[in-house]
């Protein structure tokens, strides 16, 4: 009797596994036309300065798939931490029969998650994406150095977060997605503009600068298939 139940459960899981299609979102950092490598120096156009990006981490949350304006799938895993040093892809198990034309997700954590206390998995504060001196997640973290930055060791640090009105930083993103895979370019030459690096090389608290910078990050994203 027990064996029969076990066999049924195993085959059912296997069947569902077969029925699922793998959808994948990946992120590729770019500097101009090159794929950006963390820690490598790149020349900044129209200047004699150079730049190096060391850390890129951000939250992608509440991913959903849409067909002709109707939501057909939403990911059961709500929060994904992308760390370009170690992992740049998110795999989704989407039921086979579902077809879609659009993907929607958020950059950053929702405001309720910011008030729930200690969380596990990708939301664990040990990943360095939670502020210590003030409550709230860092939704996007970009760190590096450039001779343009008049800071100690020429470092720039963008810790972009904030969940309270009027400085909420969570951004909604919608891209067309017809295939199983979408690769999203992150053009850092557009995000880290000359003026920004000069004037505000350090943004490490919620506020208007955090909002401006995270919006620029969002707007720079370019989907390719």
């Amino acid at each position: 009797m027990r064996y029969v139940v076990a066999i049924i459960i195993i085959s059912l899981t296997f069947y569902l596994e077969l029925m699922a299609q793998q959808a994948q979102i990946s992120f590729t950092p770019k500097w101009s036309n090159e794929t950006l490598i963390l820690g490598k120096y790149y020349p900044i156009s129209n200047s004699n300065d150079s730049i190096r990006v060391d850390v890129v981490k951000f939250y992608i949350t509440n991913i959903s798939l849409w067909k002709q304006g109707n939501q057909v799938y939403s990911s059961p895993v709500e929060h994904h931490l992308i760390n370009l040093e170690t992992n740049n892809t998110i795999d989704l198990k989407v039921p086979q029969q579902i077809s879609f034309d659009t993907i929607q997700f958020f950059i950053g954590t929702d405001s309720i998650t910011n008030t729930l206390g200690a969380m596990s998995g990708d939301l664990d504060a040990m990943h360095g994406m939670y502020w210590a001196w003030q409550s709230g997640y860092i939704n996007v973290k970009i760190e590096g150095a450039s001779s343009i930055c008049k800071t100690r060791k020429n470092l720039f640090q963008y810790h972009l977060g904030g969940y309270l009105s009027p400085n909420q930083t969570r951004q909604q993103v919608t891209f067309a997605m017809a295939n199983q895979h979408i690769n999203i370019f992150i053009p850092f030459d557009e995000i880290l503009q000359l003026q920004t690096l000069q004037n505000t090389p350090e943004v490490m608290s919620p506020g208007t600068q955090a909002v401006i910078n995270i919006q620029r990050f969002k707007q720079a994203l370019k989907p390719t298939e």
């Binding site: 910011n114 008030t115 729930l116 206390g117 200690a118 969380m119 596990s120 664990d124 504060a125 040990m126 990943h127 360095g128 939670y130 502020w131 210590a132 001196w133 003030q134 409550s135 709230g136 506020g207």
Partner: protein
């Protein structure tokens, strides 16, 4: 088949019995309101509370292994720090604020004098990461604990496997701190009709209700909101309280209203520890209020108290001392785990 059912039900009974005995029930008196902490997300257990207590007393949380939470939050001072107006941390650095007393935290939603922290679980991150307090970060603390045999055992006892995560560490620390309930003062006994006030204490209680209760609301003796209590700004600190966090000018000079429980154990007073004695505090409220745009409405009109009334009020305030809490052995340094004093144990030997 019958036998299998019997064995299964016996197993379930044993497991649930074990779970029941290991659970810790959060107790508080009937005259207290409902706690605001969500215990459903962090069910108390004896092993987790014990893990939290060991972490609280262990300087392993600081960068150089010299400062523990208890360095500035001593059980004998109702988990405040007497003698120091401002907190002190690694390398003998002096911080910006007076270390507050820690108790009745399950009834508090916002933490720190400026309300920067929105949840008890996340509070510990602030002193751990502050360069003038513990100067460490959670990622490195987790790495240190992962290589400690002591913590492997304690985490296994608490979470059934020895994996150390930030979430587990923070929640265990919350658990220990949640058990710091102060509710055995003379005032509490009077409310429970187990004691009665002297005439002087009763007169003081009447004055308290008239002049203090709107902010220092009984039975917790704080409504745990934020207010400007008319302290002139200390130009050596330029601390504007809640405005430092919210950047709103209406929050200028607003600080968290502290409880009036256990004041005999928790001197000095105020966010910057400027008053050493309760007399100075009463003098401030009667003669020292500095008017400003955000001053609490309750303090806009002078509070007039005669010397006799001040003595009466003080007599009542002393009934809020809770020696049973301050000397509760369950809250003290865990000798059975560390043996000697924590500073004598090299962290790499554990």
């Amino acid at each position: 088949m019958k036998k299998q059912v019997l064995v299964l039900s016996a197993l379930v009974t044993i497991i649930s019995l074990f779970a029941f005995t290991a659970k810790h029930v959060f107790l508080y008196p009937t005259h207290f309101p409902k706690p605001v902490y969500h215990f459903n997300n962090n069910t108390l257990s004896k092993a987790k509370i014990e893990l939290g207590r060991v972490l609280f007393y262990d300087p392993i949380l600081s960068k150089d292994g010299s400062i523990s939470c208890a360095s500035c939050h001593s059980s004998y001072n109702a988990f405040a720090h007497t003698d120091h107006d401002l907190s002190h941390g690694i390398n003998d650095q002096i911080g910006f604020r007076n270390a507050p007393a820690l108790f009745n935290l399950a009834w508090q939603q916002q933490f720190m004098w400026d309300g920067a922290i929105n949840h008890l679980d996340m509070q510990a991150l602030a002193p751990i990461a502050h360069p003038k307090e513990m100067g460490e970060n959670l990622t490195d603390v987790v790495t240190k604990l992962q290589s400690s045999t002591l913590y492997k055992t304690l985490f296994k006892n608490a979470y059934h496997d020895s994996l150390v995560t930030g979430e587990r560490l923070l929640k265990a620390m919350s658990q220990f701190q949640l058990t710091l309930v102060s509710s055995e003062s003379k005032y509490d006994k009077v409310i429970k009709k187990q004691a009665s006030f002297t005439e002087q204490e009763q007169r003081g209680y009447t004055l308290f209700k008239q002049h203090c209760n709107s902010c220092h609301t009984e039975p917790l003796f704080s409504n745990y909101t934020f207010a400007n209590n008319g302290l002139p700004v200390d130009s050596t600190l330029n601390d504007f309280g809640k405005m430092n966090i919210t950047r709103k000018k209406e929050d200028s000079l607003l600080f968290k209203i502290p409880t009036l429980r256990n004041l005999s154990y928790t001197f000095p007073y105020m966010h910057d520890g400027r008053f050493k004695k309760l007399n100075e505090v009463l003098h401030h409220y009667t003669q020292g209020i500095k008017p400003s745009a955000t001053l609490a409405v309750q303090l806009k009109n002078n509070i007039n108290l005669s010397p006799y009334q001040k003595t009466d009020l003080m007599a009542f305030i002393l009934t809020l001392n809770d020696s049973a809490f301050v000397f509760n052995p369950n809250h003290k340094y865990p000798h059975q785990v560390f043996g000697a004093t924590p500073n004598n144990i090299p962290t790499n030997k554990r």
